[in-house]
Amino acid sequence: MTSALVFLAAEGEKENPLIPPWPELVIGLIAFVIVFGFLAKKLLPNINKVLEERREAIEGGIEKAEAAQTEAQSVLEQYKAQLAEARHEAARLRQEAQEQGATLIAEMRAEGQRQREEIIAAGHAQIQADRKAAASALRQDVGQLATQLAGKLVGESLEDHARQSRVIDRFLDELDDKATKAEATR
């Protein structure tokens, strides 16, 4: 205890609490610079960035939503315009198709008409030819028949009118018979 007091007395002479010893100034400076270096160069910029991000996340979120909305609006208008254009295009195509169809139908009708006329003409020619053939065959037959009939008429007595008419009837029947036969063979 006494030694302590002696020491303190000796110290007290030269120690003024307001006069800093320089090693403590240096250490104080070093300690401060350590903290300042870390905070100013790394840690505070770090947190500032995050605070800025957070501010953006809150305030910027609203701005971003507004921007997105306007963009959506413009896109919608674009789509609407495109849709209208597409409708217009479709209408034009339909119109064109209709026109094309009409001309096609007209063409086909004309073609059909032509073919029908061709067929009719061919039919007419055929009929003409058949008629001619029939007429010549008929003439031949009629001539033959007339000759037969004449032969029969001559062969039978011509006095009786009734008999006469009977011969004719018979002849005509025969003729009919022939006609039906001819029909069957044809």
């Binding site: 302590a4 609490p17 800093p20 403590e24 104080g28 401060f32 300042f36 947190i47 995050v50």
Partner: protein
Amino acid sequence: MSADPTQVLAFETDCHIFDGCGFPAPGLHSFLFEPLWGNADGNGLYFNKPMLLALLGSLIIVGFFWAAFNKPKVVPGKLQMVAEAGYDFIRRGVVYETIGKKEGEKYVPLVVTLFFFVWMMNLWSIIPVAQFPVTSIIAYPMVLALIVYVLWVSLTFKRQGFVGFFKNVTGYDKSLGAVLPLSMTIEFFSNLLVRPFTHAVRLFANMFAGHTLLLLFTIASWYLLNGIGIAYAGVSFVMTILMTAFELFIQAVQAYVFVLLTCTYIQGALAEHH
């Protein structure tokens, strides 16, 4: 430690009242430390407890902010939230309030560092085992005040020019008329010489007094622990606890005052003279 004559701590002595032993009152000697390394007598290098606490304290601050801000998240965790609250308090509550947001942004790191540095150095006062406020050694507040002083002088020169600096420092004002020379002289000394001194001493003296008070009641609690003195020792012990709580408050206030003054000085340097 027990052999250290400068460590007059209550529990290290057998001295009690009624034992024919005087009260080992705290004093200047309570702020002197035998070097842990080296020799303090000459001009040689040495390393003592306050130096250790200063370096340790700066590591604690860096460690705390490293843990909080090294990988910060937009949605903060608990530690980051606490650190952010402290950071935001200094940034908005002190820097933006005094200097303004536009001009002040540049000085935020300095002021934030100053605040937490001073606060930590003050806090050592009531941290068990350490129990010594580093800022009660004049060297530490003086370094900080010097940094601010150099910044203030260079900033004033840069912003105001030589004539502007002179006007700024002397508080030149034509309307004062005949009193102007006197006012300018006083202002010159006040701003240029007294201000850095008071800036440092304000912090130093508060911590010095606070530590002395704590020591007084702590030592008394031990010293009175004999016979009838025990009752008084109880009172003294309660006072120790109350003063510890009070110191906790004073430490934060002094750190706040220190950075508030720093900001006021910077603002004065930036402001146009009128």
